[in-house]
Amino acid sequence: MSLELKNVEKKVGIDTHIYPTSIKLEKNTINVLLGSTLAGKTTLMQIMAGLDKPTSGEIWFNEKNVTGMKVQKRNCSMVYQQFINYPNYTVYENIASPLEITGVNSNEIKKRVGKVAELLKLSAMLNKKPDELSGGQQQRTALARALVKDSDLILLDEPLANLDFKLREELREELPKLFEDRDCIVVYATTEPSDALMIGGNTATLLEGKVIQYGKTLEVYNKPENLISAKVFSDPPMNIAEIKKNGDICRLTDNSVQWKSSTKIKDGTYKIGIRPHNITTYKEGNNSVEINGKVQISELSGSESLIHFTNGNLNWVSLSNGIQQKNVGDNTKLYMNTDEFLYFDQNNRLVNNG
């Protein structure tokens, strides 16, 4: 089983929503589409589902061309950001609805609904209506409807975006387990890099209707092919600076920071990408280097501290563990872990990391 997009393009009027895209999703994989709003995630999913037709290009499923085939014939299911359930059906009837339409017999329906309800912790509320449930339970019901069908393709379009923080964390942990023993392809769209890392599988980074990079999630994260992919897969945003390399000495172009690098790239001008968590208020790794900064914003995010500071003309973002309060306007010293630097050439392609 596989789903393959061949040169799929989507235009609406003069706007291009999806630039020609080729991507192959394999059986039993979870594939994350990672990109900001309007990156084309939803459009791509709707094309995969058959809810929308590509302007050009083909969609192949199981080595069969299914371009233009209607969604009803494709055996796929979809979960949306909004909690979509039939309003005057009970939870049980909601979960059973896709089976009833396809004419599965009632004993079989009962068995399958019971099983999936247990999996999603809905057994106690099968007789309730969606309006009586919390947001998390409503979304669980929608997920159950998607799972009960044994679809070949399950599409999840930012399913956790409308949930509060705690429910999101809870469901995010459960999600990969739900799909573990299933014979299907899962596509999961999200704007949050942390979602992709948590879910694992494969990730495609998207920007403005283009698939930038597709591969194993950790690989895309650790070895982004280019600066754009690295930027998409970084939250808070990645720090980018121009550097000059001369021998084994690298320095920022304004000479404010310099460090020894073991990277084997040629001498010259490069860009480095530094993830915020690699700039900290404490030393990390064996090859850390000091940077002086003037604090612009200091805020807490959970048990982490986010410090925005300026160094010369550049704005930097750092993310440290624990509570590290700084006063705005103060000069402070931070440490960058040079082992984690990503080096990009003038064409924004990754040349080396470390």
Binding site: Q46, A49, L51, V71, Q72, C76, S77, M78, Y80, Q81, Q82, I84, Y86, P87, N88, Y89, S97, P98, I101, T102, K129, D131, E132
Partner: protein, 288 residues
């Protein structure tokens, strides 16, 4: 926290108090006053107790008017609600058709009620009116000024023409508030057009439809101007709905006592139905 007591705040309430007193309470109390007394003019009143109420409640004339009223309201609700939903479903959801349809739909609502009555009166005249003349030309024996059936037909047609738009606009608003994801989800499930209507659109329109039914009930139950101009309650009394009958009694016969009693009974019927409606709505609200 310490609360400061400032009785001056009451002064802010006084204007509203006066306004409500003048536009609701005082006129209503005048009616209440009349309903228990007999007057012979010259400001001479005699106490009659509940006599007028008994008389009205037992009178065949009132029963007939009430029956006509209920039948009329029932028929127009039965036509306007499904028709309104139907039209709303077929209206375009985007593009240039939207403003065109919305404007066309609001037109009848903007026409003054007596003009609607006069328009339809002329339109339906059997000799010169387009509708009346055409129907007769087609071989129907149509004359709304003489035949009760034709008078009812015309009154109902007029009301449907005038007010279905309101149901359409409310339903359309309800339909437009349904997120496209619902339709996609149904499409993925392979739901039929009927199932989409029955299980997504109708439940999602429930609130606006309750409102539409309530508004149309109240308006049609209190209808006066349009049938008064169109048929004047005739032929005979066959289209004399409650309010037309009431005016006949109060101004035509100057029976102020019975008319006042009838007004109050009328008022309580409307109040009762609204109360029942309101409670049903709130019960639904509490369930969801």
């Amino acid at each position: 926290m310490n609360k400061t007591i400032n009785q001056k705040a009451w002064f802010f309430v006084i204007p509203v108090f006066i306004l409500v007193a003048f536009n609701a309470a005082i006129p209503l109390m005048t009616v209440v006053n009349y309903s228990f007394q007999e007057t012979f003019g010259n400001n001479v009143f005699a106490w009659e107790g509940t006599r007028w109420f008994k008389q009205i409640l037992l009178s065949e004339r009132f029963h007939a008017a009430l029956a006509r009223q209920i039948a009329f309201t029932f028929i127009i609700l039965l036509i306007q609600i499904p028709l309104g939903i139907g039209i709303a479903l077929t209206m375009p959801k985007k593009g240039w058709g939207v403003p065109v349809c919305l404007i066309l739909m609001s037109m009848p609502l903007l026409i003054p009620w007596n003009v609607v009555g006069a328009m339809w009166n002329i339109f339906a005249l059997p000799d010169i009116g387009f509708l009346g003349h055409s129907l007769n030309g087609l071989g129907f024996d149509y004359n709304f000024t003489q035949q009760p059936g034709d008078a009812w037909f015309t009154t109902i047609l007029m009301d449907v023409w005038h007010w279905t738009s309101l149901v359409v606009l409310l339903s359309y608003a309800g339909l437009n508030s349904i997120q496209p994801a619902y339709y996609q989800a149904a499409e993925i499930d392979g739901a039929s057009r009927w199932a989409i209507f029955r299980y997504i659109e109708l439940p999602k329109m429930k609130k606006v439809l309750t409102l539409a039914i309530l508004l149309r009930f109240m308006d049609s139950f209190m209808i006066y101007t349009e049938p008064f101009v169109l048929t004047g309650g005739g032929p005979g009394n066959t289209t004399a709905f409650l309010s037309i009958d009431l005016v006949k009694m109060a101004l035509g016969q100057f029976d102020l006592g019975p008319a006042a009693a009838m007004s109050l009974i009328y008022f309580f019927i409307v109040l009762l139905v609204c109360w029942v409606f309101y409670n049903l709505m709130m019960k639904n609200e509490a369930q969801s």
